[in-house]
């Protein structure tokens, strides 16, 4: 459903350009969850931004490649059509639930914005959609309490649930999650990820899950791509990767996961 072909992205540093992503190819099948693992500066977030076409023209550009989504090349799509896709067929869940919500708007208003950003003519039929209340119930929040609340009245975990609810409002076909739980502690992280991947299965949506934690990615996704310095160094089935990782970098990432001393 999503096919990235030979994607390259570069950022501007003064008069020079710095490659951030080099020749990356990756596919996400219908309803498949794919993990993208890498450390700070590996270019993994840039891939997500490129899919959403959110790289600012003043900061960098996509220098090569195609991003095919449902048969269309997103990179060749006119801006208005791309805006139609964003939030409706492709939804993104950001890293920091403390800055991704507008502090002066009630949750109801923020969620309604996604619904009212209705295109004049809908080029594709709607699959399904939820009211904000239904979406909040799906992420196990009490709509009567949350809808009229302001972000500062919610905990980090609750905000991340609100962001997930907002992302699924339009019944997206593809979810992009960029380190959705790094700002949260382990207990909340588990709750949120369990919920996110359950919803992904129910929606039969594709998922690109981006994280620096290989163990976490392997726990939730079927296929994993490991990125280093802008390039994918290894791709494989999660369980296989653990048994015999080929690339030294993947082996190093694996070795860095704390193992229990007890069986």
């Amino acid at each position: 459903m999503l096919t990235i072909q030979n994607l390259s992205v570069e950022y501007y540093r003064g008069k020079q350009t710095v490659p951030a992503v080099c020749d990356v190819s990756l596919t996400v099948g219908d309803g498949e969850a794919v993990g993208l693992v890498g450390e700070t500066g590996s270019g993994k977030s840039t891939v997500a931004l490129a899919i959403m076409r959110l790289i600012r023209p003043s900061e960098g550009r996509i220098s090569a490649g195609h991003i095919l989504f449902g048969g269309q090349d997103l990179l060749a799509l006119p801006d208005p059509l791309m805006r139609n896709l964003r939030g409706r067929r492709i939804a993104m869940i950001f890293q920091d639930p403390f800055t991704a919500l507008n502090p002066v708007m009630r949750i109801r208003e923020q969620m309604a914005e996604v619904l009212t950003a209705e295109p004049e003519r809908d080029p594709e039929p709607q699959r399904m959609r939820y009211t904000p209340g239904e979406a909040l119930s799906l992420v196990q929040l009490d709509p009567s309490r949350i809808l009229d609340a302001y972000p500062h009245q919610l905990s980090g975990g609750q905000r991340q649930r609100v962001l997930i609810a907002t992302a699924i409002l339009r019944g997206p076909e593809l979810l992009l999650a960029d380190e959705p739980t790094t700002a949260l502690d382990v207990l909340v992280q588990k709750e949120i990820l369990d919920l996110l991947f359950r919803l992904q299965k129910e929606l039969k949506a594709g998922m690109l899950f981006i994280s620096h934690n290989l163990a976490l990615v392997a726990q939730y996704t079927q296929r994993v791509a490991v990125m280093k310095a802008g390039a994918i160094v290894e791709t494989g089935v999660a369980a296989e990767l653990f048994r015999h990782a080929e690339h030294p970098y993947t082996q190093m990432l694996l070795a860095a996961v704390p193992r229990w001393r007890v069986p």
Binding site: L187, L216, F242
Partner: protein, 254 residues
């Protein structure tokens, strides 16, 4: 080091007149002691009060109740410099814990000058940097010129400068990349052995805690819910909360 019945609450202020609406009890009746050379971990989710305890032990916050004893003497009776020689702390975010406007040399040298009688400050500072795996020419550089992992090493060197007996490490890994985390953990293990450090390790990751520590305290809502040897706690967690913490840590299937 001994902590007796520590309690700390923060006032919630509200309205135009800043009236006190209520109190958040961050830490309630927590007691523990750390033996010399021991590593103790305090584990819990966010908001459980673990950082508040760390700050109280470091004298950055004063407890509402209870007291902290250093070899039987209340910490509050010690001078600023004496406390610096006994207890140092490493913070979570190495981007926030080094002063951006002062060179590494100034920050290390100052810690040395205040707490130790070292004559050749420059030489000692270079030695400290080497002991944490940083080139000595870093002394003339500024924090922005280093990566997160390097900064955390420099922060560790600064904390070691006064020659403390107790090192508090408040989530020293959570802001770092996975591969860097492993290196910093190794560094801790090495320093602990070579310097005979006593360490109070604060983390939300029970597995890391158990690998690093001799003893573990599990904290929930400001109270101790479980306490015991690290191996034992990991193998046979007694409390429900401890089990939940353990389950939540992503691990490699063995």
């Amino acid at each position: 080091m001994e902590a007796q019945h520590l309690a700390k609450s923060f006032a919630i202020e509200g309205g135009l007149l800043k009236r006190t609406l209520g109190y958040v009890h961050a830490v309630q009746d927590v007691s523990f002691s750390i033996a010399p050379g021991e590593t103790m971990a305090i584990v819990g989710g966010s908001g459980c009060g673990k950082t508040t305890i760390a700050k109280m032990v470091a004298s950055l916050l004063s407890p509402n109740q209870g007291r902290l004893l250093w070899e039987g003497v209340p910490l509050t009776t010690l001078s600023r410099v004496e406390r610096a020689r006994h207890i140092q702390m490493i913070f979570q975010d190495p981007f926030a814990s080094l002063n951006p406007k002062l060179s590494v040399g100034v920050q290390l040298g100052e810690a040395l000058r205040i707490a130790t009688g070292v004559v050749d400050v420059r030489k000692r500072a270079a030695e400290l940097l080497e002991s944490v795996g940083i080139e000595p020419d870093a002394l003339v550089h500024y924090p922005f010129q280093f990566s997160g992992g390097q900064r955390q090493r420099i922060a560790i060197a600064r904390a070691l400068a006064p020659g403390p007996a107790l090192l508090i490490a408040d989530e020293p890994l959570s802001a770092l990349d996975v591969s860097v985390q492993a290196q910093i953990l190794d560094l801790f293990t090495r320093l602990k052995k070579s310097l005979g450090l006593t360490i109070l390790f604060i983390t939300h990751d029970l597995v890391v805690a158990s690998l690093q520590a001799d003893r573990v305290i599990v904290l929930q809502d400001g109270r101790i819910v479980e306490e015991g040897p690290a191996d034992e706690t990991l193998r046979h967690p007694q409390h429900l909360y401890t089990r939940a913490l353990l389950d939540a840590v992503p691990s490699v299937p063995v």
